[in-house]
């Protein structure tokens, strides 16, 4: 078999196994840094604001939102889709790159998976609060009831959504936790604190790292990964069907499932890039999350950005080519040139144009620029969902019912609350869990050092 080494050295600094454990566990043993408290304080503030938004919605009803008869889906659905999209990075990273045997994933997968968990949690809150009568939320589950029994509508995409997202959350969590077990055992055996030995002892489930244990562990991880891989595709396809099975112009398109999946991976990788740049800066992980890693993500992003651009062009082309005047109106009049043109052009600029800067090596090497572009991607993907939801609903078939939409303070509060929740989750992760997969990094270490001696000899 050809065994070409294209990637170069994955971990810099000629680390030994114990160096890896020490470096990655160090931030957990250090005193809690000031930036952590400040960020946690701000995030808690956002979270409380969101709790107020929830309270206001539950006690006064959905009328507290800026929705109307036409625009019945507003920020709640935009933010739901946005968070779910971000939540695709973890599994995309861990599983697609695992299946493609991309070893550079080892430095990033843990953080990406953690991000997935918290993003999906944030996302899940939106459909819940959108029910209005949240106390009747259990109606969504098919349970034996006294109404017939009347079951759910199993061919409704809204029900598929519930199934897909709860499955996705469970599968991502299980995969994430499974990967952490050997690392918890490493902490358990290394730590001098009795408290930590106890807590991480419980979390490690009694892992000892013998040969049979590792064999089963690897097999189980591969199986769980293999089963979760189709979920990456199916979850966002199902989310897109919430829109695509309707008859609303701008939603009723066959391109939606692949377009949403690619968009989700795009926004997920964008958020991973944002987060990894922050993580490696704060924890001085430059030897682990090297410039090469960021470069690889940037290269993927430039490719996905091209697909996004193609999808936008295809939508516009089909609107014209279909000969359907409603489609043409929605895309050309309402989106490209109409009232929502700022949102549309922000989306195009952030998603299809700005990431093209990653073609230049100089920009990929400039971490500040990479960070700024990653923020633009996050912003652009939010606007994509805004364009999809609001422009299509505000002006549909009957001009008499046309309406505009503005979010209210309560809707903004709920969004801010989920951002607070996400940040708090990520902070907890930064503080109490090994942020890089220790045992997986050790697994690729030998290979990179052999590679190093190989290159040394060839000089």
């Amino acid at each position: 078999m050809y065994n070409t080494k294209v990637r170069g050295i994955l971990i810099h600094g000629n680390k030994s196994f114990s160096d890896v454990s020490r470096d990655i566990i160090r931030p957990m043993d250090d005193k809690t840094p000031m930036w952590w408290w400040v960020t946690a304080f701000l995030a808690t503030g956002l979270l409380f604001w969101g709790v107020w938004g929830f309270y206001n919605t539950i006690s006064n009803g959905i009328g507290e939102w800026g929705l109307n008869n036409n625009v019945a889906w507003g920020w709640a659905i935009i933010n739901f889709v946005w968070w779910i999209g971000i939540g695709h990075a973890g599994t995309a990273f861990s599983i697609f790159l695992l299946i493609l045997r991309q070893k550079w994933r080892t430095s990033i997968n843990r953080a990406a998976e953690a991000m997935t968990i918290f993003a999906v949690m944030s996302a899940g809150l939106f459909p819940l609060i959108h029910m209005g009568r949240i106390w009747d939320g259990f109606f969504i589950f098919p349970y034996w009831n006294t109404r017939g029994p009347l079951w759910d509508n199993f061919i409704s995409p809204l029900f598929w959504d519930v199934v897909a997202i709860s499955t996705y959350f469970m599968a991502s969590f299980v995969f994430w936790y499974m990967g952490m077990i050997p690392d918890f055992a490493t902490i358990r055996e290394r730590t001098t604190s009795k408290m930590k030995a106890k807590v991480y002892g419980i979390l490690s489930f009694g892992w000892i790292g013998n040969a049979r244990g590792w064999l089963r562990f690897e097999t189980a991880a591969l199986l769980l990964g293999g089963m979760a891989a189709p979920l990456v595709v199916s979850v966002h396809s199902i989310v897109s069907m919430d829109f695509a099975v309707s008859v609303v112009p701008g939603w009723h398109t066959t391109i939606f499932p692949p377009y949403f999946v690619v968009g989700a991976i795009f926004s997920g990788f964008g958020m991973v890039l944002t987060l990894m740049i922050v993580l490696r800066k704060l924890y001085k992980f430059k030897d682990y999350v090297t410039d090469g890693h960021l470069d690889a993500i940037a290269r993927i992003l430039v490719f996905i950005s091209l697909i996004m651009g193609t999808a936008y062009m295809t939508e516009l082309f089909m609107a014209w080519y279909s000969g359907n005047e409603y489609e043409l109106f929605t895309f050309m009049k309402n989106r490209v040139t109409g009232e929502y043109k700022y949102a549309f052009w922000t989306m195009i600029t952030c998603n299809a144009i700005i990431p093209q800067l990653f073609w230049f090596k100089k920009i990929r090497k400039n971490i500040t620029m990479v960070f700024i572009i990653s923020l633009f991607i996050n912003l652009g993907m939010w606007f994509e969902r805004y364009v999809i939801v609001v422009t299509s609903l505000s002006k549909d078939f009957l001009p008499a019912t046309w309406a505009t939409y503005q979010p209210t303070f309560t809707e903004i509060a709920i969004f801010a609350g989920t951002i607070g929740l996400f940040i708090l989750g990520v902070l907890t992760f930064f503080r109490f869990v090994p942020t890089l997969a220790i045992s997986e990094i050790k697994g690729v270490l030998k290979e990179t050092t052999t590679l190093k001696s190989f290159t040394d000899e060839s000089h």
Binding site: V163, G206, A211, R212, R216, F217, L224, A228, S234, K442
Partner: protein, 172 residues
């Protein structure tokens, strides 16, 4: 069950793999190997296999049957109600069947792993060399009752000759 074991501690995976070969050539039975990373060479040399993939496949089939059966029963038998002019038993059931098959498969595979490994939160651990979760490797050879002290010494020497940094006897 706890035995008295002879344990050789190594610091490098390649040295460890060669040592396993040497030991097996001399007819010594290796009970277990501890390492901070999964070593495929060890799995092959100790001839370890797992039937977990078969279990997962069975769970998948079980999940598919269970979920589709439930959908069919609720929609066709228990309360037949037409939605959108579609047949009662519709192709659209594929979506939920597909997703929940993954749910059942993932969850049961996860459980099976812990049951087979006898792992649970808070389990007491008995690791012969605690540093094997960090940066060392260990070969464990069980000391049989009929093993004489010379045999044990011979094994110890062999372990040292193959590059062990430490050889010890302990309860494992």
């Amino acid at each position: 069950m706890s035995h008295t074991s002879i344990i050789g501690v190594y610091e490098d995976e390649d040295v460890l793999l060669k040592a396993i070969d040497k030991l097996q050539e001399s007819g010594i039975k290796i009970a277990d190997v501890f390492s901070p990373i999964p070593l495929h060479g060890v799995f092959e040399k100790l001839k370890l296999t797992t039937r977990l993939p078969y279990a997962t496949f069975i769970y998948g089939v079980f999940g598919t049957v269970l979920v589709f059966g439930f959908l069919y029963w609720t929609s066709v038998v228990s309360y037949p109600l037409k939605f959108g002019g579609k047949p009662l038993n519709t192709l659209s059931f594929i979506i939920i069947t597909f997703v929940l098959t993954i749910f059942v498969g993932t969850f049961l595979t996860f459980l099976t792993y812990f049951i087979r490994e006898k792992m649970y939160p808070g389990k007491e651990v008995n690791i012969p060399v605690p540093r094997t979760t960090n940066d060392q490797f260990a070969i464990v050879i069980i000391r049989d009752q009929d093993m004489k002290d010379e045999d044990v010494k011979k094994i110890g020497d062999l372990l040292e000759k193959t590059g062990a940094v430490e050889v010890k006897e302990s309860e494992y």
